[in-house]
Amino acid sequence: MPRTMKILVIEGEEIILKSITKALKSGANAEYAVTTANTALDGLRLIRNSTFDAIFVDAALAGLNSAEVLRRIKNTSPSVSVILMSGYLSGISFPDEASRDVDGFLSKPFTTDEIRSLVSRILVERNGQ
């Protein structure tokens, strides 16, 4: 039996937090434990206190610049996989050097399949390492 994958979602919009939780938990084999954070600071605090396999970060977080959030995540937890979420198309306002540390992009709006296959791909890659 595979261990439960721990996933953190940092996103200002409640509906996205709920949707991701629903999409990842409603599957037949719900092996994901989803934690959510409403702000970047909350998210960073959570990272310091526990370990996650993957973190979803919104590219347009209020408060901190998302490149700064990414840097801090990687400082605290270098091995974690990071997925950047943005409204439609990716990386518009995102510096190239920061996007190198990103393991995947998720363009909103997304479907259940899209987020699930992205998460499985990333976890397969992590297990393969």
Partner: protein
């Protein structure tokens, strides 16, 4: 100051025509004056020569009469000569300056002054011995004021004159009155052999006619000069107005229009240098117009892009919720079939919104593709999997046939998926329930390309929609937002960015396939 300011407003045509008139007046005036002077000189010369001839003839005719001292004959001859037109008087003087014969009786035996031209021609001052070095004693004088030519021919001494005694004999006749003062009536020759000149025949000829003719010519020339100057000035004035003034006025009007922002009126093409100027003005105007419309277009695009971005971000979060929650409902087994179908319709429409917004954004943002090797098979299958759950897709069969050895293409995977999603949606909308949608891809090794074909059984895609594929002067038409057209425009732009080609694969009006060629 005021005058110079006023002068500045005198038109070029006026200036040039006045200048030309002045030039003609001056040059023709000089020319006329010179030629009139020459004409006068020539006429006077000719008249003088003929007078000389007359003098010589007279001298020859009268020589015998003079030798024989036949005074009547001489007087009669002189009278006869004067009767000819233009001859004013004829006189014969002796060397002492006494008028011996004259057609004017009143001056007979008068002594001419020592300062008279006849004397000073040869003699210097009052000294009778010193003589000018003269080649000929014949002379004439033209009195320009009165129009009279005085021609004087010397009567030379000859052996006849000083040897012949006939003259001397006749001198003794008491009736004659030709003696010099102090000379007695002795018998001896009248003329000494040492004398060179015995006297003069002087003829006065009127040059009035010549002068009158010259005056007439002068007036005619002045009139002609003025007429020519006026005519030339007038012709030049109107030519310049027509050839320069009119086109320049048009150009000035054109620049005013352009200054007011009206770029739409071409100036009618002209001739010569101004024609070239007009052409380049029109060209400049068109370039300005196109630059302006490009600016307007890009400003419009930028603002539409911003607006679309804002809307898209606002929509993306709630739309995610709709999609995920609907999918979750569909996945629940306790729902009845009708409810499931309803949920599928909601999902389908939500996904349509997602694609529409994505298409509008991709037109407005004009992003550059990020090229990576793309496996077309995976991308197509993923696009199909996104749409499979939709009710439109439930009723048709999608057959994907891609060879295992299909070459990878260098492309932006997101953009490629967008193209495939758009084409799948368009095709599905034109297929009746139970129809088949064939998605196939082949290597075109010779041309180093791959070809992807979306073919369906069903009605053709309408022509007016297909125009979006071939529309030149690419650019989104935001005034005519129609989902299918925008989808096709996006496909065309993305394929163009990938240096590929997209076209309708069958006859217009019955198009049931769309083909994409991409460089491998």
């Amino acid at each position: 100051m005021k005058l110079t300011a006023k002068l500045k407003h005198i038109s070029i045509s006026t200036r040039i025509s006045i200048l030309l008139g002045l030039i003609i007046l001056v040059t023709m005036g000089i020319f006329s004056a010179v030629s009139l002077m020459k004409q006068q000189r020539d006429s006077v010369d000719a008249l003088s020569r003929s007078t000389l001839l007359l003098s010589q003839t007279t001298e020859k005719i009268l020589r015998l009469s003079m030798l024989k001292n036949r005074r009547d004959e001489i007087s009669t001859a002189i009278k006869d000569i004067v009767e000819n037109e233009g001859i004013r008087s004829v006189r014969i003087l002796n060397h002492e300056g006494i008028i011996k014969f004259s057609s004017r009786h009143s001056e007979l035996n008068e002594h001419i002054s020592r300062t008279n031209r006849l004397c000073t021609n040869c003699h210097v001052g009052r000294d009778s011995t010193s003589i000018h070095a003269v080649s000929s004693f014949y002379s004439y004088h033209f009195d320009e004021r009165n129009g009279i030519i005085y021609s004087s021919l010397p009567i030379y001494n000859s052996p006849d004159c000083y040897n012949s005694d006939c003259h001397a004999t006749t001198r003794q006749e008491p009736s004659l009155n030709i003696e010099k003062p102090g000379i007695g009536p002795e018998v001896h020759p009248v003329h000494d052999s040492s004398q060179t000149i015995l006297g003069f025949i002087e003829i006065e000829v009127s040059a009035k006619r010549i002068m009158t003719n010259l005056d007439k010519s002068r007036s005619q020339l002045i009139l002609l000069t003025i007429l020519i100057a006026l005519a030339a000035s007038t012709i030049v004035y109107f030519s310049i107005r027509y050839l320069v003034g009119k086109p320049v006025r048009r150009l000035v009007d054109g620049t005013r229009r352009v200054a007011q922002g009206d770029f739409n009126n071409d100036i009618p093409s002209g001739e010569a240098e101004l024609g070239v100027l007009v052409d380049s003005f029109n060209k400049m105007q068109r370039q300005l117009l196109s630059t302006q419309s490009q600016l307007i277009e890009s400003e419009k695009l930028a603002s539409v892009g911003k607006l679309a971005d804002g809307i898209a971000n606002e929509i993306s979060n709630p739309l995610t919720g709709i999609i995920i929650y609907t999918e979750s409902l569909i996945a629940q087994s306790k729902l009845g079939n009708d409810e499931k179908a309803d949920c599928q319709t909601i999902l389908q429409e939500a996904l349509k919104i997602r694609e529409s917004v994505r298409n509008i954004l991709s037109l407005a943002r004009k992003e550059k593709p990020r090229f990576v090797p793309v496996d077309i098979d995976t991308t197509i299958r993923h696009a199909v999997s996104v749409l499979e759950k939709l009710s439109d897709f439930r009723n048709i069969r999608v057959i994907v046939s891609v060879p295992k050895d299909l070459q990878h293409v260098s492309a932006d995977p997101g953009m490629m998926e967008q193209v495939f999603l758009n084409l799948l949606m368009i095709s599905s909308e034109n297929i009746a329930a139970g129809g088949i949608l064939n998605v196939s891809a082949v290597n075109m090794s010779k041309e180093n390309k791959i070809e992807i074909r979306f073919a369906h059984s069903g009605r053709g895609i309408p022509d007016n929609v297909l125009h979006a594929l071939t529309k030149q002067n690419a650019g989104p038409d935001f005034e005519n937002i129609e989902r299918t057209k925008i989808s096709l425009t996006v496909c065309r732009e993305i394929v163009a960015l990938h240096k590929g080609r997209i076209y309708a694969g069958s006859e217009p009006g019955t198009a049931t396939s769309i083909v994409i060629e991409l460089p491998a």
